[in-house]
Every structure is written in C-alpha cells, then in structure tokens.
Amino acid sequence: MRAAVVVFPGSNCDRDLAVAFSAAGAEVTMVWHKDNTLPEGVDIVGIPGGFSYGDYLRCGAIAAQSPICRAVKAHADRGGYVLGVCNGFQVLTETGILPGALLRNSGLKYICKTVDLKVETNQSAFTEGYDSGQVIGIPVAHHDGNYFADPATLAALNDQDRVAFRYVDNPNGAVEDIAGILSENRRVLGMMPHPERAADAGHGGTDGSAMFRGLAGALTAA
C-alpha cells in the first residue's frame, strides 16, 4: 500500500496519521499543500486533522481550494481511496467530495475525549476489520464536528449504507449521531474521531488499528 499524507499550514495530526499508515505496512510520502500532483502510484491519500489555514473563513474552506486538493479530487474521481480525519473530514465536505457540512458543536465547547463509536457498516476497506454493530473507543478533538446534511442527503446516506460510524453518546449535536460517512463508491471516508490516535498501545488504545490494517489488506491485495 502506498499512502500520501497531505500537510497544510496548521495541520497537526499529519505525522500521527503517517505513523499509523506505516505501522500497518504502508510506504508513506508526505505531500505539501502547494504541490500540484500526488506521488505516482499512490493508493490512498490521508487528509489529517489540525487547523488548516488557521480555520479562516470556515474550517477546511481555504484548504479545499489549495493546489493539492485539486489533485486529491482528481484522485477520488478516478476511484482512488481517501481518508479524511477531523479537519480532513471538513476539507472533504468543503471540496464536495463528501456531502454535508460540519457545524460548530451544539454545546459550543471544544471537545477532547475518547468516545464510543458504533461501526454501522463493515462493507468498506476502512471498516472491514470490524464487525457491523461493534463498539470501539476512538478519541475526538474538535470544535466544529456537528455533522449536518439535508433530509435528502441523509436518506441517501442511510439507503446506501454509507454511514460508517455513529456516536453511542452524541457529543456534538451531529444529525442522526453521525461520526463518519463514506462516498458513493465507498472509497472515501470522512470522520471526526481520530483512528490514528488509537493505533498504538502506548497512546490511547488500539481500536483504530483495525482500520489501517484493513486498508493495508485491501489495498495491498489490489
């Protein structure tokens, strides 16, 4: 598996994401926001958490217009895999690669804690290492994680089994407790919780490891 991790000014989970991909056996290249192209032969692009461009205008809005995001959009349009975590999820909605938007948390507070997530579907390379219905503990750290989508979009997400994770105890007001969603072709996952922060026994558990192992299995075989 060849992975590329995007670095924006203000990204702060890029190295954690790279370490999680590496631990699963990936060859990882870091790519800069000003780059116009992704490295040749990349299977999956990771868009990390953080505060890209200082969250100016809206979280992820400026990053979505960066040169590298045009390459990421082309990669997704070609059927390439993309994982967007936290600010990376916000970037994916701002680019239109994933539907909906992330609003300010309903309680207005920044939330940093480990939360229980229910795996809604294991029908994706991201979640095949889990059982559908399994509950896993993954850290969240966000101020704007309140997922919003209009009723038609929600109906499509539910009908197509594209909700990957729901919060067991909704921390941020997200509609229908949604924590992460898949693209129509199931190759793009955006999620607010941080699986890369739960991929090392020494750092907050290992419930996130199965995602990176599953990706390595699926993408190495492919």
Partner: protein
C-alpha cells in the same frame, strides 16, 4: 467599487452561537429577544470591471458554503 457580502446560516440550520448570545442577552435583563442568528460580513474592494455576477460566483465557490449558508451581495 466595494461589495459587502452578508453570509448567514440558512433557516433551519441550528446556530448554537446565536443561541448563546440570546441566553447572554436574557441574563443581562433584555427579555424581549426571542431569537438571535449570527452571521458574518465580508467587504471586498473590487477593481474596475468586476461585476456583481463575479461576486456571486465568489460566494458560490468560496465565501459561503451553500450547504449550510445563504448569502446576499450589496454593491456599495
């Protein structure tokens, strides 16, 4: 030419910041406020030749996220 763009959360989209402001106004004794919506104002200095249509396109592409926000353009 200057343009002023008003960006607001759409009706029906929860505005927790507006709600917090409403509560704070109530705490100050302003009982007459039944709702607060908070938005943002963006002022643009435009070169000659830029049109209101250009500004609308800027709103669609960047200044507003039309999934959750509506916008109004005012040419000054």
């Amino acid at each position: 030419m200057k343009a002023r763009v008003h960006v607001m959360l759409k009706n029906g989209v929860l505005d927790p910041q507006g709600e917090a402001v409403r509560h704070a106004l109530g705490a100050l004794g302003f009982d007459g406020v039944t709702g607060v919506r908070q938005g943002k104002v963006i002022e643009l200095d435009l070169a000659d030749g830029a049109t209101e249509t250009d500004v609308a396109e800027m709103c669609e592409k960047l200044l507003a996220n039309t999934v959750i926000e509506s916008y109004q353009v005012e040419i000054l």
